[in-house]
């Protein structure tokens, strides 16, 4: 009898498992995407200059380099780059290349020289900023500890929430599958007893149930990936507006494709879908074999 026919004979059990798995996979996809995006976003923001020290126009270049030396000697700084007025103008032009009016209005004299400082740890940002502020030649110090801190906090919260949700969800799936298999084993107790007497192994007996659950797993994974994909493309434009200015965030690259978490590209989407499918497969194998070892003697 085909797997599909066997599933059709127990439609309510099949639907129960299907919905439980579909919902779990959808949550798994949603959280995996969010966590990966936030983590990559934090990494990206951390690669940006963490403290930018702007100097007065009257400050001599030698004083700028003296401060740079002092900052490096604190032992808290990973890197401190000198940005001249010419370089500042170049950066400005690059950032505003689509705004000719803004480009016309600004010359290099309007831009200050600066130091872009990267600290070894985020907690050094405050100390470095205070040290720089004391220097007489410094006009302003800008740093983005707040943004990084907020993002780290958000990411941590999302990770904890995801963990709780997913644990609860997978526990539900585990019990739904386990109960369904147990029902099926009990309903076929006599048949299983005969099969055992004929020499059937536990795996031989459980194989049709395993096949049925793997088919449900496949359908649930395809369904949840489709809904997640649809949702992403539906709310994606709003998200793009919110994250404008954030460049493409690539999770990893291969010679054949880049896996971009932002904006989500097809390879990354397929990787996420495959991930949920594999998690489902592992869960089903584990649950089915556990039920078999418990109920098939």
């Amino acid at each position: 009898m085909s797997t599909f026919s066997q599933l059709r004979r127990t439609p309510y059990q099949t639907l129960g498992v299907l919905f439980a798995m579909f919902f779990s996979f959808f949550i798994l996809l949603l959280f995996s995407f969010s966590i990966l995006l936030l983590t990559r976003l934090v990494n990206y923001i951390e690669t940006q200059p963490q403290v930018t020290v702007y100097f007065l126009k009257t400050t001599a270049k030698s004083d700028v380099f003296k401060l740079r030396e002092e900052l490096i000697n604190t032992g808290m700084v990973k890197e401190a780059n000198y940005i001249s007025q010419e370089q500042a103008l170049k950066i400005y032009k690059e950032l505003n290349k689509n705004e000719p009016l803004l480009l016309e209005m600004v010359s290099k004299d309007a831009l200050p020289t600066s130091l872009e400082v990267f600290t070894l740890k985020p907690e050094y940002l405050e100390q470095i900023a205070q040290y720089a502020r004391k220097n007489a030649g410094v006009e302003e110090v800008a740093y983005q500890q707040d943004i990084v801190d907020s993002l780290i906090r958000i990411t941590d919260s999302v990770k904890k929430t995801a963990l709780l949700f997913l644990m609860a969800q997978f526990l539900i799936v585990f019990f739904v599958i386990f109960t369904t298999i147990t029902f099926k084993i009990i309903a076929k107790k006599e048949e299983i007893e005969i099969m055992r007497l004929l020499g059937a192994t536990r795996f031989f007996i459980i194989k049709p149930l395993l096949k049925q659950n793997l088919a449900i797993n496949f359908s649930a994974a395809i369904g949840s990936a489709s809904v997640f994909g649809g949702l992403y493309f539906y709310v994606g434009s709003g998200l793009k507006g919110f994250l404008s200015g954030i460049p493409t965030l690539t999770l990893f690259s291969t010679p054949w494709f880049n896996a971009d978490i932002w904006p989500l590209n097809w390879p990354m989407f397929l990787i996420l879908a495959a991930f949920t499918l594999i998690i489902g497969y592992l869960l089903i194998w584990f649950t089915t074999l556990l039920a078999a070892s418990k109920y098939i003697k």
Partner: protein, 227 residues
């Protein structure tokens, strides 16, 4: 092929079902296990199939000690044995052919359907291949059970009262089938209390009474009366 050494079986303290059973069955041999109801014939068959294990003593099949609780290859052992159970043990929501195919799939046979049809032909049930067990008579169910035991090259055939509750004509049909099976050099252990069959076939007879083997007649000369 099958060896019992000082085998005792009890259900509860001191209440012996079988006591000090010793016998050996050679490969290709046909033996009758005879005795009154409750003598312990079925228990002996169950121990060979390792449905139960003895309280003491050893049971060997193919030189393997199968009576140990640590014996792990139960499935492999059962795959060597075709059993005709007293209550048939046929799966009622599968058709005749599906019952046979299942048994052959357990043995990992390459063409289970072809093999199943050939076995059904041997027992004269090919025309009922797609029938369900509830549509068969007792004799036909027995033939189906025999076909299942024969199929797939199982080496040992255990038959527990295969002619019980059958009319004489059908019983002799069943006996004819057992003769065919024996011609294929299979080892057969046939538990019965049908004296006519035992006396006609003239095979080795083990007489079990009150949990003991009281006679082992190897030359087929043993005559069982109907009392």
């Amino acid at each position: 092929m099958i060896k019992f050494e000082h085998v005792s079986l009890s259900f509860g303290a001191g209440n012996f079902q079988l006591e000090d059973i010793n016998f050996e069955v050679e490969r290709g041999e046909f033996i009758f296990l005879i005795g009154p109801s409750g003598a312990g014939k079925t228990s002996i068959l169950k121990m060979i199939l390792r449905e139960i294990y003895p309280k003491s003593g050893s049971v060997y099949v193919d030189d393997q000690l199968i009576s140990s609780r640590k014996f792990k290859e139960v499935e492999k052992l059962r795959q060597k044995i075709g059993t005709i159970f007293q209550d048939f043990k046929i799966i009622y929501d599968r058709s005749v052919i599906e019952n046979l195919v299942l048994s052959l799939e357990i043995l990992n046979q390459k063409n289970p359907k072809e093999e199943a049809l050939s076995s059904l032909k041997k027992v004269g049930l090919e025309h009922k291949a797609n029938f369900f067990p509830l549509q068969l008579s007792a004799g036909e169910l027995q033939r189906l059970a025999i076909a299942r035991a024969m199929a797939g090259g199982r080496e040992i055939i255990l038959a527990d009262e295969p002619t019980g509750n059958l009319d004489p004509v059908t019983s002799w049909e069943i006996v004819r089938l057992f003769r065919q099976i024996h011609d294929q050099k299979k080892t057969i252990v046939f538990a019965t209390h049908n004296s006519e069959i035992v006396n006609t076939l003239k095979k080795r007879v083990l007489l079990v009474k009150k949990g003991k083997i009281i006679k082992d007649s190897r030359d087929g000369s043993y005559k069982l009366d109907n009392k």
